[in-house]
Symmetry: C2
Subunit: 334 residues, 2 copies
DNA sequence: CTGAAAGCGCTAACAC
DNA sequence: GTGTTAGCGCTTTCAG
């Protein structure tokens, strides 16, 4: 069995009491410098690390934060996670990542898991299936610090940070319009997600500003966020089989953007389409099919979400003023 | 402050002792069924979750495993992580993921972090920079269960699981040879990594079997695993500027495969090259430049590594017989 | 300046 | 069957 050294080990080895050792290791003041030196050197020598379980039992803090995302195998989220880690590790926090794979049940289980694991706070991006957020609200009401990023819960009052999804969608749609297209379909994530709502708004606003009446048949939702290829395929097929075939598609998520291109290729259709979509993929330049992309500052979003969360966690007083940060996207025309 | 209910809360609420409640919850024998029912129902009602820190203090088990990979934003690793999680969660273990970004220093810090966080075991894939594995061997010697996957440490005696890198590299190289190429360059990860060594072996064996003398100038290592674009660019540029320009490249990693294509595109060279490389990307079919890929069963490797680790963790007796599993790759010709 | 002792939440002897 | 108690590793009064 793996048994790391304890305070007591140091104490007995040095003929001191555990409290003296404890103080030597942290307090600094009111301890003789020789004892301190002695202890520190010995601790260093045996590579002493305080037992985090004992510590968090005492301090009621685990120095870890939980992250809930739909999947790590996703350009956006993996970049966001790197941002999260960059801040968390600097501040001495561990990061526990969990994936929902866009499943509501999985989300509930994971959240429960994380809470029971006594994380000090949660960084949450909702799953595509999640319509009811009471599992999160319950925890939040009990005082568990929580920050939403990307896919936020409107009805939970805490910090939220997103890309400017409305504007990003608007920009992409305008790009399609300016490319001479007017029959622009919209393939997007499940309808209840905040990102879907905002991106739909931007898409609609662009159409209207350019005198195009939005066609409801052109809007296709993937309720599992494109976790199943079939889901994307049927959505794309449906819209492409309309009598009034679209001449462009604006896609509302990373997974769907890539998925849409795959479907078009596999079905061998839509060679004359222009596609624009949200995507943080770094390989888009290598695609044979040009994809104009809306790129989100995922790394920064992860960083800022973490900063906000740590602020909540470490705040002495209960926080009642919450921020709603919105960060600009960038359009990459291809 | 978020204060979850404790055993004591239940005990006082129900007028019982903590030990009775504890027993009722863990369903030991010799407890009256009505008390048990009472306790279980109340616990359910207030959504009681045992405090994991207290538990692991007692049981000396944290029910969590640590994972060390170079980065999650990587096709191979993100799939492997999903495999790891699929097993771990089923068995009631948490997964703490850490990234090295191919840095040796970061690897040491993370490993230290994980060990001090008292994980029950470690799933490790070495960073590109790691030549010295003593930080891992120390922990292993102290009894911390450890399983290596993908990038293994030869000198640590424990379970190891990898793809058949040698054969995968051989297959890819043979494909290039059979496509009529004989001047095959090899772009690969840092030289000390097990995967680099094995893939180089397969490459060399293929060449020799087909009567081609390996040309040392054709072999380029990226010592930071391609974390920096420049690193890949200069490696590719160097080999392409040779007097005897290669007519094909075999690439030894996921990141490098994609990176190599980017470089060729950006430098606008190598249009007549044939490229084959290790990659688990799911978007290769969308690339304008066809990339024949060697795909590893990353998800399964993650699963099996986790099973082996849990086996070690939960074994009553010290394990002395270790497996060295090798799993076949698949070649996708494009 | 240092030691003794209590207590964080939980389990496991040991009483009764 | 159920309660009492000690102790996991640590911090923190409280004494001295």
């Amino acid at each position: 069995m793996f048994e790391p050294p304890t305070l007591k080990d140091i104490a007995t080895a040095l003929g001191l009491s555990t409290s003296t050792v404890s103080r030597a290791l942290r307090d600094t003041y009111e301890i003789s410098s020789k004892t301190k030196k002695l202890v520190l050197e010995y601790a260093e020598k045996i590579n002493y690390q305080p037992n985090p379980s004992a510590l968090s039992l005492k301090v009621r803090r685990s120095k870890s934060i939980g992250v809930l995302v739909s999947e790590v195998a996703n350009y956006y989220f993996s970049q966001a996670i790197s941002g999260i880690e960059s801040i968390a590790y600097d501040r001495g926090y561990h990061v526990i990542i969990t994936q929902t794979h866009e499943s509501y049940d999985r989300e509930k289980i994971n959240i429960q898991h994380l809470a029971s694991r006594s994380v000090d706070g949660l960084l949450v991006s909702l799953s595509a299936e999640t319509a009811d957020t009471s599992h999160l609200r319950d925890l939040h009401d009990k005082g568990l610090p929580m920050v939403f990023f990307d896919r936020i819960a409107e009805d939970i009052n805490t910090h939220k940070i997103t890309a400017n999804n409305e504007q990003g969608a608007y920009d992409a749609t305008v790009h399609l319009i300016k490319s001479g297209k007017r029959k622009i379909a919209h393939l997007t994530n499940s309808g209840q997600l905040s990102i879907s709502i905002d991106r739909l708004k931007g898409y609609t606003r662009a159409l209207q500003e350019y005198g195009i009446t939005p066609n409801p048949n052109y809007i296709k939702h993937c309720n599992h966020g494109g976790m199943f290829y079939d889901e994307i395929e049927s959505a794309v097929a449906e819209v492409m089989n309309l009598k009034d075939t679209p001449d462009a598609i604006f896609v509302g998520s990373d997974r769907l953007s890539v998925g849409c291109l795959s479907v078009l290729k596999n079905l061998n259709i839509g060679q004359d389409l222009i596609i624009a979509g949200f995507s943080n993929a770094d390989v888009l330049d290598l695609f044979s099919y040009p994809l104009t992309s809306v790129r989100q500052p995922a790394f920064e979003i992860g960083q800022q979400a973490t900063e906000l969360l740590l602020q909540l966690i470490e705040s002495k007083h209960p926080v009642t003023e919450f921020e709603n940060r919105v960060i600009d996207t960038k359009l990459f025309v291809r």
